[in-house]
């Protein structure tokens, strides 16, 4: 089991969702987060005071999958989120120790799907 965490641009969320549905990955959690990478955010001005390096809005996806779904999920996220511009985001893949479905108390791979 793996936990896939992806940081993407907010306006790519819809495309990523569509790609995930195509890959039959239907269970996702979405967060709105702030951050910046190498482009160092944006400038804002309030009554003449310039604020540099403000954080950009990003979307963070969390998807827990069984091994056979890891590559399809990664591919779907890349396909939906890639624009080729700076700030397209990152995907992190982590080992997942356990997964429990609260309703039935099923564990492991059964519980994920």
């Amino acid at each position: 089991m793996k936990l896939i965490i992806a940081i993407i641009k907010p306006d790519r969320l819809e495309a990523v969702k569509q790609e995930l549905y195509k890959a039959e990955v239907n269970l996702i959690t979405v967060n709105e987060v702030l951050g910046h990478g190498r482009q160092m955010g944006v400038a804002e001005v309030y009554r003449g005071v310039r604020e540099m390096g403000n954080l950009l809005r990003k979307i963070r996806l969390e998807i827990a999958v069984n091994e056979s779904f890891v590559e399809p999920t990664i591919n779907a996220i890349v396909k939906g989120a890639q624009t080729g511009n700076i700030g397209d985001g990152k995907i992190f893949v982590l080992d997942l120790v356990e997964c429990i479905r609260i309703r039935t108390e099923e564990r492991g791979g059964e519980a994920i799907g």
Binding site: K9, D11, E14, A15, E32, V42, E44, L55, R57, N85
Partner: protein, 437 residues
């Protein structure tokens, strides 16, 4: 500090003197009641533009809400100045031409005595500033069509040119002395043609040529704050009492009639839209009810001084049906992205209102008006059709030309990156909401 005090001290007699001068010069003919009501009405109509800002602002994405508020606010600033410099003169100075004339430019000759051809019992300047508020809200209505994708500089240029080359001439034709639609006998009590049809068709023009918002075809762009939209609707409804009842230009019986039918039509149209939602989509929606109320206010605008309370109910019930069809059926079929339905509500509602005036107008309500088709005068209905057709075609063509000129010089649309990041950050360097302190 001492200096400041002595300066203020010196000012006192000067101010006192100006006060007595003004008091002594109060021209005869001004009625205090009428003047008081028009001062209040002017302030009410002013409030409609910020009200509209919230009505629209709630409907856009949260990365573009400041963009909407700013566009409304800067129109309040820019058109106020334009109106004093030359807008009022082009619109209302007597003349038979395309515009009035520049005789009243810079308010030359626009004093505190009444100008009886427009309003015999209030200061000419009061009539001027009341009309200023109409000139402000009309271009502001268009904002909803090109929301979330227009460059601020291009927007500002568009508004100033549109006010001068579309609003001012159409206003002159319908309301100005020597205006040819006025001479033809077209009835427009408070601005169905001048304000709503005029802005509504300009909205359609800009929506078509600027193109769709990015991503709007894959997924509907949802309102980010509907409570703002309801607040805005309430402010519009409130301000509309000044808009319509103030257009009687006096604290008189016609003002009361206009006040009553304005409220009645808005209420009937809000109910009607809620019912349509209920029938077609299982639940009555808040946004639908608010939209219906605005459509009702639009439709009653040209008719307010000429129709009775029962006619207002019919006008209100039907306007929601027509606007609903425009928004829910016509727009998806033709695929233009009139983002906040300015055409569907203001143009369609305005056309229905102008035509309904030709149907329901009655001399029993207003002896200075005319009878409509249902009261035995089919000619009035024909005149109303002409006024609608002229406004539609002129505003469409002129808005198109202005749009193309700006697009050829400074480009109207923001670039893709700016559109994705939102107008708040890219056009104004500000954020409406924080996630982290």
């Amino acid at each position: 500090m001492k200096k400041l005090f002595s300066f203020l001290f010196l000012l006192v007699p000067v101010i006192a003197m100006t006060g007595t001068l003004l008091a002594a010069e109060t021209p005869p003919g001004n009625d205090t009641g009428d003047t008081a009501w028009l001062l209040i009405s002017t302030a009410l109509v002013m409030l409609m533009t910020p009200g509209l800002a919230f009505f629209y602002g709630g409907m856009v994405g949260r990365k573009n809400v400041l963009g909407i508020l700013m566009q409304c606010f800067i129109i309040l600033c820019a058109v106020s100045v334009q109106w004093v410099l030359f807008g009022y003169s082009l619109s209302f100075a007597p003349g038979k031409g395309f515009w009035g004339s520049l005789e009243w430019a810079g308010l030359k000759g626009v004093g505190l005595a009444p100008y009886s051809d427009y309003a015999a019992t209030i200061p000419h300047q009061l009539f001027m500033v009341f009309q200023m508020m109409f000139a402000i809200i009309t271009p502001a209505l268009i904002i909803g069509a090109f929301a979330e994708r227009m460059k601020f500089s291009a927007f500002l240029a568009f508004i100033i040119l549109w006010s001068t080359f579309v609003y001012d001439p159409v206003c002159h034709w319908v309301w100005g002395i020597g205006g040819w639609l006025k001479d033809l006998g077209a009835l427009d009590f408070a601005g169905g043609t001048v304000v709503h049809i005029n802005a509504g068709i300009a909205a359609l023009t800009t929506a078509i040529f600027i193109g769709k918002r990015r991503g709007s075809t894959q997924k509907a762009i949802l309102p980010h704050n509907l409570p703002f939209t309801i607040l805005g609707t309430a402010l519009l409804w409130f301000g509309w009492f000044g808009f319509n009842a103030g257009s009687s230009l006096g604290a008189n019986e016609i003002a009361v009639n206009a006040f009553v039918v304005t409220n009645t039509a808005a209420a009937a149209a809000g109910l009607s839209w809620a019912l349509l939602d209920w029938i077609c989509h299982e639940k009555p929606t808040v946004l639908g009810t608010a939209t219906g109320a605005v459509a009702g206010l639009v439709a009653i605008t040209p008719a307010a001084g000429f129709v009775s309370g029962l006619s207002a109910i019919i006008i209100g019930l039907f306007v929601s049906i027509f606007c609903y069809m425009a928004v829910a059926i016509v727009k998806p079929r033709f695929g233009y992205d009139d983002a906040l339905d300015v055409f569907g509500v203001h143009c369609i509602g305005g056309i229905w209102g102008a035509l309904a005036t030709g149907l329901f107008a009655s001399k029993a309500v207003n002896p200075a008006g005319a009878d409509g088709l249902f009261f035995g005068n089919p000619k009035q209905f024909v005149v109303q059709i002409i006024a609608v057709a002229v406004t539609l075609s002129y505003s469409f063509v002129a808005s198109f030309i202005i749009y193309k000129v700006i697009d050829a010089t400074i480009k109207v649309r923001v670039n893709e990156k700016d559109e994705i990041m939102g107008l708040d950050l890219t056009q104004h360097h500000e954020n409406a909401y924080t996630i982290l302190e």
